[in-house]
Symmetry: C2
Subunit: 239 residues, 2 copies
Amino acid sequence: MAPKKVKTVEASKTQAKRQHKANAKVATAPAKPRPQTRIQREKQDIILEAALEVFSVHGFRGATIDQIAEVAGMSKPNLLYYFPKKEEIHRRLMSELLVTWLAPLEEMRADGDPFVEIRSYIRRKLEMARDFPRQSRLFANEMLRGAPHIIDMLEVDLKALVDEKAQVLMAWMDQGKISRTDPYHLIFSIWATTQHYADFDVQVRAILGKGRGGEGRFEDAARYLEQLFLHGLTPKAKG
Amino acid sequence: MAPKKVKTVEASKTQAKRQHKANAKVATAPAKPRPQTRIQREKQDIILEAALEVFSVHGFRGATIDQIAEVAGMSKPNLLYYFPKKEEIHRRLMSELLVTWLAPLEEMRADGDPFVEIRSYIRRKLEMARDFPRQSRLFANEMLRGAPHIIDMLEVDLKALVDEKAQVLMAWMDQGKISRTDPYHLIFSIWATTQHYADFDVQVRAILGKGRGGEGRFEDAARYLEQLFLHGLTPKAKG
DNA sequence: CTAACATTTTTCCAACTGGTCAAAAATCTT
DNA sequence: AAGATTTTTGACCAGTTGGAAAAATGTTAG
């Protein structure tokens, strides 16, 4: 005896489509959130991983679904079963990215020691450039195109966060703990210098040569940036 | 002074069709090098300008000939009359770009005052980011893709130039005129911080808001970067 | 086993892609 | 103005693109 006889299943199409339609119109059931099967989540992750690989190199328009499908090891229609639209994949990637991307800055605490906090922030950003270069490039690609998909979030969420942290920096300046300078451009320069190692990786490698192009360069970069920023921020009074 | 325009092999290739036909008929004539008409040069410039607009936003694969033709105000076949291949347009753009891009660093003189030279270099790079943002983005796009078309030039010409200037910087360090640090990463950080204002323009605008997004920000950036780099490079001995 | 459901594959398509070609139109030479 | 040349256009093409439809194949609960 079934608790509830399956009613006329309207178009038993693909699950994804049904999910959209069902959640949108079925008002009888209490907004039952369809549980995602394990397989669905796994496949989606595989696709997102492959899409990251492709989008981060070729950008949205330059990337093709076939290419992503091939990297993901499945057929194009099969991929489209999980993400009905190319845009959908990209959107998911971008929203996940933004969370990851803002995290390091959020961690900068107003009640910590300024130099320690700034140095840690630089270190975290540099580690992200090293460990997640594709995310960095995906972000850069979106920026180059004028950030059509995330401009709203930039103007609201990101701006709010940066404004807040700029306040923190200015407070430190007021207390004479760091040099008085433009806090916004300070943040920009940290972003620029750290992400450079992911986004312009080829160039860095080409110049440092095969020898220095390996692992050591990140330690070198960290040491250099530390010196650049901290000495640049040391108040003159302190000598 | 405009950089000396070198007549490249590619240039004459654009007339491939006509040349083929003409040369096929008159095999007797000694490969007469057709001079470019004024109209040809003008149209090619218009096309390159339009291509810069499109390539710098969408990258090579993401850009379409139709789109470039539309921006250039001509039909696609007409555009293809001047540049028989999409790649040809891109190659021309890239080779022109590299010359422009390396110029500022070349100007850094070993016999000048270190601080003046470095500050001037930063200033020049910042001005390029302001005045030629599309070139900057075109370059960034190429880097993100792994620089498939210019990797050779990076590893040879660019590397040679940077090596040379790194020597200059190290000489200054030896003389105690600037802090001892990694000259390569110093150059990287100048590139990163200045180009950031062109490549991540949307983000900068989104954060600085409509008010500060205008012209003033470049002056702010210049002032900030000057402080960052010069104070960061001031030897402790000098106080 | 079998029905209901979930997943995958096969087939197909219209729009777009880079590119060709011949003929028309414009321009230049004489 | 006539003829030669250069430039522009419209029609066309083969390959690729994002995506739809449906059939075929699992998978699972009863």
